[in-house]
């Protein structure tokens, strides 16, 4: 054994370690798992749930019990993960949590994916020794917004949501209040989520081990539309959905299942199946054009991307004085819906504005809120009718009895289904910027970018939350900054305010790593590598596609030739661009079409 390789023993098995952040990761490396509610690799270690406790035996014979998620690994210690002592602690923790839990599991949105349910079953908790939660102890459920439902009666106070809010978004919308057994997690001053500056990114929900934070489901609404013979349901799905949905059916993260998605949707009754990747290409046309215009005029730089609705809401509530930086482009979801609602009735006699329902499948909870922006409605009707997340879609496929894994891949419908590699990489942090640069280069120089892969803009792990690349566009240096998490975005904003910012484009995604790690995706918080694999899936598709630049998408070209004329045209503005306003004061409800 040399000096730099350190080893310890886990349940008698020797394992080496180097820079693992904690004992729990070394235990995993040794091939064992310990249960945990509060440990999330991308968040700070917290040590509150006490499920991951292990016995640590030091060479001098001293034995301590401590939480493995917070202990730094130490050489030559022996770890025991399953002694009577630690199992007794875990069992007591489970019994105590269950006693204080709203155990209406069967009707819980999280049922089947709930970690409390899972461990209770594994540890065989069959009877409860402790007094049940009384009627008086139940707290009201917050169902105030289209994105998230907060049920404090299912909260186990692991603090993951509080940490996610503070550490990802720097925003601390959620916090702890009260002491002792009256401790609760709640939005500022006990208000509802809609009344605080929540951006609805949903990461709190993504890290929640129980049903305390869940997605406000629109599954019923979607089925009602699909089953209604009068309705024509037209579907779009975001880039990152295709590399994550398979996980719900036992497939590997990153496996691209887009063909199966199209097929499943047709089986479920969709009239037409399009793809948000198409409108991602459309977004690039408009946004690249907007950037070139701003660059030429030297105004409103840096340009902020506007695809992420959580980021847009953050700007409107936190920095309304800087809204001029935001691209006026609608998001890809926001662009495709009005295009469908305008053009489909013109070309397809069976479709009219009364029977057309646009169903959108998104990796994101904030998209549900985006769809309810008054700015994205026309004549009192929202352009996007129903938004479901990847997770909700997975449930729908299961309830439809479709053997998803066995489905034969199909193609999307024409003409809004064709997409390029640029559209598909939207799903990973850095993808929008990379796609925009590919097209902006062409718009400025009339030539194609020699090397399409812009590696410095890639990467979705925790160390890649702020990336920067400078490109030489025929003598003009253009610096692109890519950030994910609003906490990182805020730092860039402060640089701009201080006058030290040296970039011309700022791409912001609120979820760490971008949409691949969106809060509507299958749970990925226990394993930090899942989002990386999903991003790899997107970049692989980009690499394999023959067309990799938005401006070369033939259907996009056709759309401009036949209807939109050119990027930035009057018609394009009418359909594809939007406005923003100061939403610093007042509730979210004041600015949405929701009732």
């Amino acid at each position: 054994m040399t000096d730099d390789i350190k080893t310890l023993k886990v349940n008698g098995k020797e394992v080496s370690f180097t820079d693992e952040p904690n004992l729990l990761e070394v235990i995993k490396k040794a091939g064992f798992t310990v249960p945990t509610f509060c440990y999330r690799p991308d968040l700070t270690q917290y040590g509150a749930c006490r499920m991951c406790v292990v016995e640590v035996k030091y060479p001098n014979g001293r034995v301590v019990v401590n939480s493995s998620c917070t202990m730094p690994p130490e050489a030559n210690v022996e770890i025991f993960t399953n002694t009577a002592r630690v199992r007794r602690i875990r069992k007591t923790v489970l019994e105590l949590l269950l006693a204080n839990h709203d155990r209406e599991c069967t009707t819980c949105e999280k049922s089947g994916a709930c970690e409390l349910q899972k461990y209770s079953e594994e540890y065989g908790i069959s009877t409860l020794k402790y007094a049940k939660k009384t009627e008086a102890e139940f707290l009201p459920i917050d169902n105030s917004n289209p994105a998230l439902v907060r049920d404090p009666n299912k909260c186990i106070l692991c603090g993951a949501c509080v940490r996610a809010c503070a550490e990802f978004q720097g925003h601390a919308v959620l916090g702890f209040a009260n002491r002792g057994s009256k401790t609760v997690v709640q939005p500022l001053a006990g208000k509802e989520l809609c009344d605080v500056d929540c951006v609805f990114c949903g990461q709190c929900q993504a890290v929640c081990p129980t049903g305390a934070l869940t997605i406000n489901s629109e599954v019923e609404k979607a089925w009602n539309a699909l089953n209604d013979p009068e309705k024509k349901v037209v579907v779009q799905m975001a880039p990152s959905v295709r590399v994550a949905l398979g996980e719900l059916f036992g497939m590997k993260p990153g496996e691209n299942v887009i063909g199966k998605i199209y097929a499943a949707l047709r089986q479920m009754g969709a009239t037409l199946v399009f793809d948000t990747n198409f409108s991602a290409d459309l977004t690039i046309m408009e946004e690249a054009n907007e950037f070139v215009e701003r660059l030429t005029k030297g105004e409103n730089l840096p340009l902020f991307t506007s695809c992420c609705p959580a980021w847009v809401r953050y700007m409107e509530t936190q920095h309304p004085d800087m809204l001029n930086h935001l691209s006026s482009c609608k998001s890809p979801q926001g662009m495709l819906s009005p295009v469908l609602k305008t053009l489909l009735p013109k070309t397809r006699p069976e479709i009219n504005l009364d029977n057309l329902v646009v169903l959108s499948i998104m990796p994101c909870t904030a998209k549900k809120v985006e769809a309810k922006r008054v700015e994205l409605s026309k004549d009192g009707k929202f352009e996007t009718d129903i938004v479901i997340t990847t997770k909700e879609f997975g449930k729908m496929i299961k309830s439809a009895g479709i053997d998803f894994k066995a489905l034969e891949p199909e193609e999307a419908d024409s003409p809004f289904g064709e997409y390029t590699g640029a559209g598909t990489i939207f799903g990973a942090s850095g993808g929008v910027a990379e796609a925009a640069v590919r097209t902006a280069y062409n718009m400025i120089t009339g030539e194609e970018l020699p090397m399409l892969d812009i590696k410095p803009m890639r990467g979705v792990d925790a160390s890649s939350r702020c990336k920067e690349a400078t490109l030489d566009i025929k003598g003009t240096p253009v610096t692109v900054r890519v950030v994910s998490t609003l906490r990182e975005a805020e730092k860039s904003i402060q640089e701009i305010k201080a006058g030290t910012a040296k970039f011309q484009i700022l791409e912001v995604m609120a979820c760490p790593g971008g949409c691949v790690n969106g809060a509507g995706q299958p749970t990925s918080c226990e394993d930090a590598s899942i989002k990386v694999q999903r991003a790899e899936g997107l970049y692989t598709e980009d690499k394999n596609l023959t067309i990799r630049c938005s401006h070369k998408n033939p259907d996009i070209q056709k759309l401009y030739n036949e209807y939109l004329e050119k990027p930035g045209s009057h018609k394009a503005h009418e359909l594809l661009h939007t406005t923003y306003s100061d939403k610093k004061k007042g509730s979210y409800k004041d600015f949405s079409g929701c009732v």
Binding site: T92, V93, L96, L157, G175, G180, T183
Partner: protein, 617 residues
Amino acid sequence: MTTLTDIKSEQAKVQADIKSQGLRVLVCAGTGCVANGSLKVIERFKELGANVRPMTQQDKVTIVPTGCHGFCEQGVLVVIPDLNVTYVKVKLEDVEEIVESHIKNGKPVERLLYVDPKTNEHVFENNKINFYAKQTRTTLKNCGEINAESLDEALAVGAYEALNKVLKGNNPDAVIEEITKSGLRGRGGGGFPTGLKWKFTAANRGGKSYVVCNGDEGDPGAFMDRSVMEGDPHKLLEGMAIAGFAIGADEAYIYVRAEYPLAIKRLRIAIKQAEERGYLGNNIMGSDFNFTIHIKEGAGAFVCGEETALIASIEGERGMPRPKPPFPANKGLFGRPTLINNVETLANISTIILKGADWFSSMGTEKSKGTKTFALTGEVNNTGLIEVPMGTTLREIVFDIGGGIRNGKKFKAVQIGGPSGGCLTEQHLDIPMDYDNLIAAGAMVGSGGLVVMNEDTCIVEVARFFMNFTQNESCGKCVPCREGTKNMLKILERIVKGEGKMEDIETLQELANAVKDGSLCGLGKTAPNPVLSTLKYFLDEYVAHIKDKKCPAGVCTAMKTITIDETMCKGCTKCARTCPVGAISGTVKNPHKIDQSKCIKCGSCLNACPFKAIKQN
């Protein structure tokens, strides 16, 4: 080469000044005595004593408002050292008599002297007061002897002499060595060797590091830290500066609970004075050592006495403990190496430096050296703040210093160490009290709260009381503490209500062990102690509550039965008219009856019955 301040000549100067004050009349201005009106007593003394020539042939009389003397229940305390007398329970109207009779004419005012509870006689001489006779006051020595708001008075009794000594020696490691050798252990409760803690923090010398003083005294009834901060603030500041010098820190925080306004006020005055005169701040006493002390007011959460929660609170976060490791010595306040010591620990430092480690370790037991302060309360004759060598027995404290149990009742138990401590019984009266013996007995020194209970105390109710306290003060972070204490409390509430089941005892035991073993911080790890120790020593009382539905001490309301003795009842109807819930029925001149299902056991009828026909068991 810098020249250090000559502390000895400074001292000689202020000592001469104090001598010229003539007869010093020390009036306690600690929180307890202030509440009893000592500020007015001081004013009155100043008024009446202004032009008095005392019988001692001194030129004049000087009134000195001091810190706490410890004997709070006898306040307002007035001590005149030159007359070797202590007056107790002094009221405004008594001042004139003391001045006229004793100070002017040498005739003690007998009625204001302390009465020994054993002999029932007045005590004329200071050293004969049983409360003080067995104490060894080193940490608390100056409290009650000097004006806490005067730096000169502190200097006269040796303040900053130890700091001067270590600056002269200029060897931080030697300072740590001396503290290590002394055997001093943390006085906040944990009992961790102080020298070792300093050594661990000093290992990170070089960058920014901090000294933090834990003054968040949260144990109900404990007030030793408050007394030091109020009565001898410079001793604390000096201890902190020496610690800063030893570990290489130039900045410090004192975390004081906001409920201690007087301590905060006096600390602020002391810091300002020390900075003005060069005992704190930059280039202390002419050396190149800089040390700044800030005060951080806590909002009164018990858990903030836990060092990592305290750090979070200073940083402006919610006071929630953080997992250890990393220990504060490596990563503490603002992520920097931090030394956290409690007030009493730091107040020991200067004396150890001056008198030497050997002097300190000559007191106490093998593994617990020096003295310890205790807040003695409950059913003893003398309550107050005491300081005794480690290893003093409970018997000495309760029966000698405390003067025995009040009203001739029987001793039953002591709760030692506050809500984190445990209950000890008669069988423990003769064990030498130190860190290890108390842990072995199922209690802990804790911060030194000592509540004496007599035969009228219900032990199960005591356990419920403390469990209620820890449940309310749990920060809510970890499951065993938050939910475990809640369920332990629920069970105890059931038992005192007479609704307990025998299996509750086992569940309680099991839960207590899991909470102790599984909790994140010291609060949770020690919260079950009152339950575990009472289960161990008073199991029969639990059983009596559960099986016999009886509270042996007659405390638990739910288990009282009030009945009317038909043979004695004359049918006067008084009880029926007094009963607030209409539980008593009967006709005139016929025996009455109590409907047990309606009775709320308020006891009104007991007092109302002129014939003593109503009985309670």
